[in-house]
């Protein structure tokens, strides 16, 4: 029995067996996981198809980049935030418009907008923007198409035009651009088949960001020329971080159609702030339409996100569009950009908290504080504008001298453009809170001067 005493008790042996087996399992899991992560880190993608400078179809790119493609496809989501995002509104399809779901109408939400845009196609149909996936469909079927014949120019930013432009131009991007601009929309529409796609922002060989839109290539050259940089080529001279804003700025900007050729132009020659753009339009003598009620030579501002962002603190800190709208995410050992482009308010965790270490509720309330204040001031500016339009109509009916009416119409044009600049900009002031307030304050001041101008004698003082 003495020999038995020196033995390890049976239950210890069983315990040791179980523990060492568990340890072996844990270590195996660990080593397999490490091997998998290393493999992921080594191969960011597998090339299963050849992608060339002619590949427009994003599903082909998606075979090589399934994670990015998966995110890209999610832009079909319709989610609201307090001041943006879209809600799916069912509608009965018609022959002219087969859509069964659209976004909510902004004109119904705020009828003052109809007054501001009286006589312009926007007063017929203007809905909250939906995700990237819908850009081509929504442009094709908006009622604005029936209100006024639209040019092929519009497709510059509502379709993947890089390959179609080059095809039309016989290899020359700008020649194709000019050709499509001159076509009626319906004809140009036949040359394109996809909304914005991979090739619009990525070089198919290196996957590096690349600007493909002619109007931005020209526009940014104007901006840089004003800063003393001659012959700026964005694709060779911009930094990687700048490109993370520039590829978005290809389209999220203010623009106009110059001359009878409907040449798409970004009005940046004299600067990119709202009042600098207004001064540019004044000096060019350009107006989008004649206001149906007052006869003012009116201007329509269009989604100037890039211009507004560039005046804000985030731009100053070097934070690009993609940092918040396509934040990095970790997938295994890979770091990818979330290609589900959307409001950062729907992704506060990755979009904001990477830099701002506060809880989601706190960050959301900071954004809403800015937006609520901007919205309040936007409403005041809109009330002021509607009042001026009413007074202008009354003054015209009462036979006020033409010179006073002319001055007041000029003030209406200017105040209206600055107000629309904030209204059309998709962030309700967040991209540059102080700038948005400054622009609205200037708008209200111009509207006030318009009302004074109608009184004539007061304006002399």
């Amino acid at each position: 029995m003495a020999a038995n005493d020196s033995r390890v008790p049976r239950r210890w042996l069983v315990a040791a067996l179980i523990l060492s087996a568990l340890a072996a399992v844990g270590l195996t899991v660990l080593v397999v996981d490490i091997a998998r992560r290393r493999e992921e880190a080594r191969n960011p993608f597998y090339r299963v198809v050849e992608i060339t400078d002619e590949t427009t179809d994003p599903s082909v790119w998606g075979r090589n980049f399934p994670l990015q493609y998966d995110g890209y496809r999610r832009t079909v989501d319709q989610v609201r935030t307090r001041y943006g995002g879209s809600e799916a509104v069912p509608r009965t399809p018609t022959a002219a418009d087969p859509r069964s779901i659209v976004a909510q109408s902004r004109l119904e939400e705020d009828p003052r907008l109809r007054t501001m845009w009286a006589g312009y196609a926007f007063s017929r149909d203007f809905r909250e923007e939906r995700g990237h996936a819908y850009m081509l469909e929504d442009q094709t079927f908006t009622e604005r198409q029936q209100a006024a014949p639209q040019p092929g120019t519009c497709l510059h930013c509502h379709a993947s035009v890089y390959v179609p432009y080059r095809t039309l131009g016989g290899g020359d991007l700008f020649a194709g651009f000019e050709k499509m601009n001159a076509m009626p929309y319906a004809e140009a529409r036949k040359h394109v088949s996809h909304p914005v796609a991979c090739i619009d922002c990525h070089d198919p060989r290196s996957m590096q960001l690349r600007v493909t839109r002619p109007a931005f290539l020209e526009g940014i050259r104007l901006v840089k020329a004003a800063q003393g940089i001659a012959d700026y080529d964005v694709n060779t001279q911009a930094t990687r971080q700048e490109m993370r804003a520039y590829v978005c700025a290809q389209c999220h900007v203010e623009y106009y159609f110059r001359g009878p050729g409907k040449r798409l132009t970004y009005p940046w020659r004299d600067g990119i702030r709202a009042d600098e753009i207004l001064a540019y339009y004044d000096s060019e003598g350009f107006s989008d339409w004649t206001h149906a009620e007052t006869g003012a030579p009116a201007l329509k501002a269009q989604h100037p996100e890039f211009e507004m962002w560039s005046q804000g603190i985030h731009a100053r800190a070097g934070v690009a569009c993609a940092d918040c709208h396509m934040p990095y995410e970790r997938v295994g050992a890979m770091k990818i950009s979330d290609h589900h482009v959307r409001s950062p308010l729907l992704n506060i965790n990755r979009a904001c908290q990477t830099c701002h270490r506060w809880d989601e509720e706190e960050l959301r309330s900071r954004v809403y504080t800015i937006q609520d204040r901007t919205f309040d001031m936007r409403n005041r500016a809109l009330d002021a504008l509607v009042a001026l339009i009413g007074e202008l109509n009354a003054a015209a009916a009462a036979g006020v001298p033409e010179e006073r009416l002319r001055q007041a119409r000029q003030f209406q044009r200017q105040g209206q453009f600055l107000l629309d600049f904030v209204e059309a900009e998709n962030s309700m002031g967040f991209h540059a809170p102080q700038e948005a307030m400054r622009v609205l304050a200037r708008s209200i001041d111009l509207t006030r001067q318009g009302q004074i101008a109608l009184r004539g004698d007061v304006a002399q003082k």
């Binding site: 067996l17 060492s20 995410e329 830099c355």
Partner: protein
């Protein structure tokens, strides 16, 4: 019991073998050093490592200077503790991102700030303040690494 002991010996040997291989394959020895690159071995700390390599502190402090306490034993206890939980969570997944420092590790870092910058801290802390001591990293978040 002879057969049972033989089986046990085989299993323990297998576990030790797998453990040894894992240690070498996972560059386990690198974790015993002060090399900052070791902290980015597992990919999750890549952003922090990249941030540090562009920070003001890159030439005066490595990861361990701010994230482990003074003294050989406390240092390796902290390394072992964090190493185990990092391996556990990064292997099993399901941790929240962006990753955040734990309260215990924050104390270690705060201590490191106060050790190197003792003179400055001493002058600031002389002023009594309601709600406890000031936190250095509350304001100087990007000193070590942004993100």
């Amino acid at each position: 019991m002879r057969w049972a002991e033989l089986l046990l010996a085989v299993l323990v040997g297998a576990a030790a073998g797998i453990g040894g291989y894992t240690f070498v394959y996972a560059r386990g020895a690198s974790y015993l050093t002060d090399d900052p690159a070791a902290c980015a071995n597992c990919h999750v700390m890549r952003e922090q490592f990249d941030g540090w390599s562009r920070s003001s502190h890159r030439s005066v402090a490595v990861c361990n200077d701010c994230h482990t306490p003074d003294g050989l034993v406390p240092k390796y206890v902290t390394k072992a503790r964090n190493g185990f939980w990092h391996s556990f969570y990064f292997t099993t997944g399901g941790f929240p991102e962006p990753i955040r420092i734990t309260p215990r590790n924050l104390e270690v870092t705060e201590g490191a700030c106060r050790t190197c910058h003792a003179e400055v801290v001493h002058a600031i802390d002389a002023m009594p303040r309601a709600g406890g001591a000031l936190s250095c990293v509350q304001c100087h978040r990007d000193a070590g690494h942004l993100h």
